[in-house]
Symmetry: C7
Amino acid sequence: MDRMIPLLTWVFPDTLIVIAIILVFAVASHLLLRKAISMMTNQMVRKARARAEKDAGGATSAQVRVEQRTATIGSLLRSIVAFVVWIIAILMILSALGIPLTPLLASAGVGGIALAFGAQSLVKDFLSGVFMIMEDQYGVGDLIDVGDVTGTVEEVTLRVTRLRDADGMVWYIRNGEILRVGNVSQGWSTTNVDIPLATGQDTQKAIDVLAGVAESFAADPEWTDVLLNPPSVLGVESISAGQITLRMSVRTAPNQQWAPARALREASVTALAKAGFRAPALPSYDPNI
Amino acid sequence: MDRMIPLLTWVFPDTLIVIAIILVFAVASHLLLRKAISMMTNQMVRKARARAEKDAGGATSAQVRVEQRTATIGSLLRSIVAFVVWIIAILMILSALGIPLTPLLASAGVGGIALAFGAQSLVKDFLSGVFMIMEDQYGVGDLIDVGDVTGTVEEVTLRVTRLRDADGMVWYIRNGEILRVGNVSQGWSTTNVDIPLATGQDTQKAIDVLAGVAESFAADPEWTDVLLNPPSVLGVESISAGQITLRMSVRTAPNQQWAPARALREASVTALAKAGFRAPALPSYDPNI
Amino acid sequence: MDRMIPLLTWVFPDTLIVIAIILVFAVASHLLLRKAISMMTNQMVRKARARAEKDAGGATSAQVRVEQRTATIGSLLRSIVAFVVWIIAILMILSALGIPLTPLLASAGVGGIALAFGAQSLVKDFLSGVFMIMEDQYGVGDLIDVGDVTGTVEEVTLRVTRLRDADGMVWYIRNGEILRVGNVSQGWSTTNVDIPLATGQDTQKAIDVLAGVAESFAADPEWTDVLLNPPSVLGVESISAGQITLRMSVRTAPNQQWAPARALREASVTALAKAGFRAPALPSYDPNI
Amino acid sequence: MDRMIPLLTWVFPDTLIVIAIILVFAVASHLLLRKAISMMTNQMVRKARARAEKDAGGATSAQVRVEQRTATIGSLLRSIVAFVVWIIAILMILSALGIPLTPLLASAGVGGIALAFGAQSLVKDFLSGVFMIMEDQYGVGDLIDVGDVTGTVEEVTLRVTRLRDADGMVWYIRNGEILRVGNVSQGWSTTNVDIPLATGQDTQKAIDVLAGVAESFAADPEWTDVLLNPPSVLGVESISAGQITLRMSVRTAPNQQWAPARALREASVTALAKAGFRAPALPSYDPNI
Amino acid sequence: MDRMIPLLTWVFPDTLIVIAIILVFAVASHLLLRKAISMMTNQMVRKARARAEKDAGGATSAQVRVEQRTATIGSLLRSIVAFVVWIIAILMILSALGIPLTPLLASAGVGGIALAFGAQSLVKDFLSGVFMIMEDQYGVGDLIDVGDVTGTVEEVTLRVTRLRDADGMVWYIRNGEILRVGNVSQGWSTTNVDIPLATGQDTQKAIDVLAGVAESFAADPEWTDVLLNPPSVLGVESISAGQITLRMSVRTAPNQQWAPARALREASVTALAKAGFRAPALPSYDPNI
Amino acid sequence: MDRMIPLLTWVFPDTLIVIAIILVFAVASHLLLRKAISMMTNQMVRKARARAEKDAGGATSAQVRVEQRTATIGSLLRSIVAFVVWIIAILMILSALGIPLTPLLASAGVGGIALAFGAQSLVKDFLSGVFMIMEDQYGVGDLIDVGDVTGTVEEVTLRVTRLRDADGMVWYIRNGEILRVGNVSQGWSTTNVDIPLATGQDTQKAIDVLAGVAESFAADPEWTDVLLNPPSVLGVESISAGQITLRMSVRTAPNQQWAPARALREASVTALAKAGFRAPALPSYDPNI
Amino acid sequence: MDRMIPLLTWVFPDTLIVIAIILVFAVASHLLLRKAISMMTNQMVRKARARAEKDAGGATSAQVRVEQRTATIGSLLRSIVAFVVWIIAILMILSALGIPLTPLLASAGVGGIALAFGAQSLVKDFLSGVFMIMEDQYGVGDLIDVGDVTGTVEEVTLRVTRLRDADGMVWYIRNGEILRVGNVSQGWSTTNVDIPLATGQDTQKAIDVLAGVAESFAADPEWTDVLLNPPSVLGVESISAGQITLRMSVRTAPNQQWAPARALREASVTALAKAGFRAPALPSYDPNI
């Protein structure tokens, strides 16, 4: 008798109540997770707005950038959450109906672990990308140094960052391979100018000559825009056989240091020669390297 | 009595209904996954078409390339999906019929994990290949730099990329080993020309001589096709004992920088010699290296 | 008859008692874990206060920093504990009610392990960050050396540390990649000044000249603030063909060594020249490198 | 009563039907997998034949090589498939008969995972070998560069590749350690010839002299077989103190570049000396390195 | 009837006896493990005491240090043991009472494995720390070399070692990153003094001069405290163009070698010059490097 | 009543038949595996015999070596197979008798995996050893290059290889650390002899002089045994400031190249000096390095 | 009725027989494993005795060392075996009595795997230590080279090896980090003596002079104890601009090569100078490096 009415058993309260509870929990989890995602993205936007107001007194492009990114990540997370919650709910209902799920779960388990071994660098790339974007480490247009390559960011995706280096080469760099990022565009640039002199001359006087060069350089209207400070003469950087090296330092707007450094180098050499200083007479390694 | 009619039990509603549910879900999953794959490939094609229209106002070879690739990947994904869905469905039906699947699942599990350890670099190669192709990082004919090898792409497969380097050697490089890709063909090429001079001469005048060389060089019809800008004289790059190095910079079409750089080097040396400038008298390291 | 009253069975004592026990244990675990977190944070604060009193006789900014950090970590831990305890309790109650949880647990298991492979560097970053903060290895404003980059700390988060190096570049460094930290600001700075001389002169006399320079240097009011000890003349550091190198050593306040070293270098060269010592006549490698 | 007739129970329909289903599925899986292997190998052979016809209009030794390899791999795969399918089928039948398999499966699981940790490089070697052979990256007799060793392939097995380098040493290299392969024999060889000159001479005239050398060199019957193009004079490669380096380039049949390069080097030096050009007078680093 | 008295079933002998057995085993395990810990720590203390008596005839600070550390580790281990034993006992009792533990155990499993991936370097740090402390490899005040950093130990914790290097920088080094430790303070220090001479002079006589210098140096009361042996003249270390290098060797108390080496270097140069030996006339690389 | 006769139940047909089936399968597996091992070892011996006959027309010491190794590995494999098969059979019988094996299997599982993490390099060593021996990559007495060490093999075990290098040091190298093996003794040895000349002399004449030296060298009875070919003059290897380098090449019996190369170097220098050629007058880097 | 007598059920034959079988198997496993350990250690002792008799005709200190180590390892293994066998037996008996072990086994599993990740280098250290000791790779007093450090072994434990290097520094090196060991004390020592000469002199005559030096050196009673062969003159090692380098080779007792090499260097230079040979006049790199 017992086996004669399985269909009826299925529609009996026991199984129905189980399915109802599963559905209630699935809906609840879904709503709660969406709520959590909203809170997270709202907080990110609020932070960016605060920072933008502190910096510029209003909405800036960086803020807009953060808001767009936040919206993208939020929508991505919401899709993932919906997908995962309802797949699990369906499987739980199938299980409650007595469908044998072992083959499905075992296949998913083996496949998932097998993939995980090979895909770990992929997951790493995506997770690194999510965090780099959320932390706003760099944006399109920034000049960054990612260890082996230095270039201007052309595109930031979750998996790769696209740079263009000074020689025009386009680089695709996986985000998980970026262990540290140096962002030139968020600060200023300092560079040193080393001037070699022959030994046996009046070092202090040479320093004074250079100080004069630095002063007139800072007054030159050509460089006032890029110079953040007047160049400073640091002093005797090193002494080797036949050569004393003096060092000057220039601080400029981000990534603008090369032209003033070259100009300052030329001006210094010319001024020292005019003042009668001898350059070191014998070759040696280039101290700039 | 109970054991006398197992065959009959099997064809009873209980098991039949379970099997029916399994089949329904298998068909549904299969259709949904095919739909998802179609949407993904369509979106990729649409994106490529948009980019192509923005670049060239119509269908280009790059767009055709993307469409072919998309079709290949789509068909591959569809085969995998069909295979996986129906294997699992068959196993679930066997399980519903009471076939003991533990030995099969356990073997698959141990074998899968054991393979996964050794095959992780294989999986990594394929996944990297899929993403590099989908992101269209490079195509056949591009000149790329993959870290240890630089060469022209001859073939891109899911597992390896085949390059031919400047010396004619054919390189097979596993996609998972490519941590970053530099694509010369997607940009322009810049190269520096360094001209050493003896110290104690008029640096500014030498710069003027070089500026003249750059100007007439830019006007030379031999180079107008490859030069993207007239060469620029950057200034004093470094000072060492007995030698001042001046730097010029040339920007050309992708990978066309070597010939103009050599010609510019020769023209500069000749012009400086004509203008009476002395070359540095003593050997030193090659500053180009 | 048995199957007619499942709903009643559910509200029978058996299941109710199980649920009651689960709730009692969940509440107890939650309270105990909160207590443990409080004890841990209190002890950290007490330690920091003791250290601060020993150092400065009262509350310092370092102590305030530790207290803020402790509060942040404590609140984070409390949220995690509450989340984990109640999720597990809910799952146990669902299990007691007969809801089939296998699909949920299996999905979580596979997903968790698959994520763990890719996210291990993320977890590593966070754990390293927690410990570095708890051990107070460095704070905002310290000048630190993390192996590849040396700079001033601008921000410390659980995942990354933001530095600004001497050239003004901003570095984002993942905490898990920091294998060792060198903190300049917690100590003093020592630097060596090497003075090359031609061979065949009275070395002892040269040492005496340098000792005189060191003495007058220590007496110079310009340097009294940064010098922790008078510079010391260590003696003959090395002998090579044509050159004897003498070494002096300067100890200054943290990161203040460069200016006095340069000044001392200049003073030494000038004094030796005045005393009639010859510099080595031929170039060689810079012994400072 | 129930326990009195277990033997009879075993031969009852229930168990027999289960065993029959298992056998049917085992046979079906076996046939399907053999079919799949045949299709794969046939496709590989067809591809190789097509390539061979495109290259040479008929069957070549490379095609024969691919067919032999395909046969070997096909037979290996067939053995593995037969072994795996029937082991699992036997275990499933034992399970259906009520034999307790837990100890066997658990031992296999622990042993398999324990081995997998240590054997992963072994599996990697074999998988790399299979793919390298299937992709026909190199064959016996090819001169290849595998990173640390360059030599002629003497034997290719699934686990190791045996090379003989230019010094006669025999190298056994594990296939999994070969991250990239450079195959000289599939292309041509290009090499550069650098000719240093003293500065202060007519560079353009020197280039003309070299162009004459290149022309007569290309006409020399001794080199017509190995030269793929006449040597080309690229121009001024670098300028350093006292020295200008001119570069020529030679393209030859694979791995035949050394002798013509040496001959061209000698002819160039002789011609320049005859034309009155001075070699650089002072030693420096060898610019070829 | 059966379901009417579940509460009574619970207090029936079956479950009670199981709980009793669990408690008995928990207590027994706890006691045995505490006993084992005591034995281990006692043995460590006894060993340290024996070593101390052998070295110094009584309790030393090193012994005190070992006893303190042993007490700390013993107390830590006892807390861990108590925690683990009773958590497991409680879970076993809950299981005996019929509470469904699967969700709890599955969560712990997934969480534990997920954490283990990211936390493995943390566990490694702690285990390395425990062993380094138990083996007493170094203590506060020792000068150690841990590969990348050399400095004086300021603090040893289970996770990090704090060093201060010669420049005053404070280093935090994770114990798990220390692959090998070199402890200067547990031995003596030897350093070489290399004296270059021009070729073509009487080498044996120069060696005799140096032997005389070594003798009078050993007799100098300034150095008797730090010198463990008189300096020895080893002989001709190398010959290169224009230069013969003689080597002397000095063995001193730990880390005291620099001052005597410098003094010996100066004395040797002075003595050789007095004896009429010529220094090599031309620069070369510093042979000390 | 049912519980009164458990002992009798145990000896009833059900359990007995299960045990019988287990035993039958254990014996069958054992015999089949022994058969497979015999086939494998026989095939290895047959291969070695074939190779030996092809090489030397009869049994050689290499063949004997392979046979001994094969016997050792065969006996080792047979012991492992017997051990594993019967342990599993005993566990299955215990399981059939109702002994609870979960604690045993769980302990073995956890212990096995925990060991596997630490022991993976051990397993790797043994597996590498087995394959290196089976592939006969090298034997006792061969001179091999294993990357960091080059020496004569003194002993080959499954875990380590013992070498003695040219300086007499004995090296124990773990087989798993040997990524590639270079075996000198299985081939010949080629070495280059580079002869520097001053620029501005007749290069072709110098090549002719060297060709004469090579000819008379090949005729010298002292070297006929070790020379495999007469030395060949390759031509102009490189040109640098002031120096032209000519290269000769010598091919000798394995590892016999050093003495003839030194003799040829001396003869060449002497002959060129006699023929009036000037050596380069100024020092430079040794072009052999 | 059934639930009224659980205690009685427990003491009924069923459970008792299971417990008896468990105990029988535990005792049998224990005895068999002890027997296996004894056989292994006995074989090791027998091997060491055989080797000692072959070397020295009786018991040596090396044999004693091996016997002590074998005893230690045997006793350690016996403790581990007893511990493991009886823990498992107790757990199996608890399981047979119906105690729920899942929480215990799950905790052990998760804890074991979590520890295994962090402790893998620890396990590796111990396993490496066991094998290095069993293979007797080195003993206390041997001078060994472990890659980064070379020194005299002071202590060998299962986890670390303690060395003292030539400078007196004490090194603690983890056994698992020792990839290869070079043992100087088990062989002899060979070193090369390179003598540079100016070019343009009679090389063969210089070789004869050096041969005379070698002969008289071998006859010098001061060196007869340490020299294993008379020094040999190898010939012309290299030729560079202005310099020909001759090489001699000395083979001595282990680690005794430095003093004779220095003496031979001095004697050679003196003899060549007496014979009228010129040393190279210009500096260059030290060819010994």
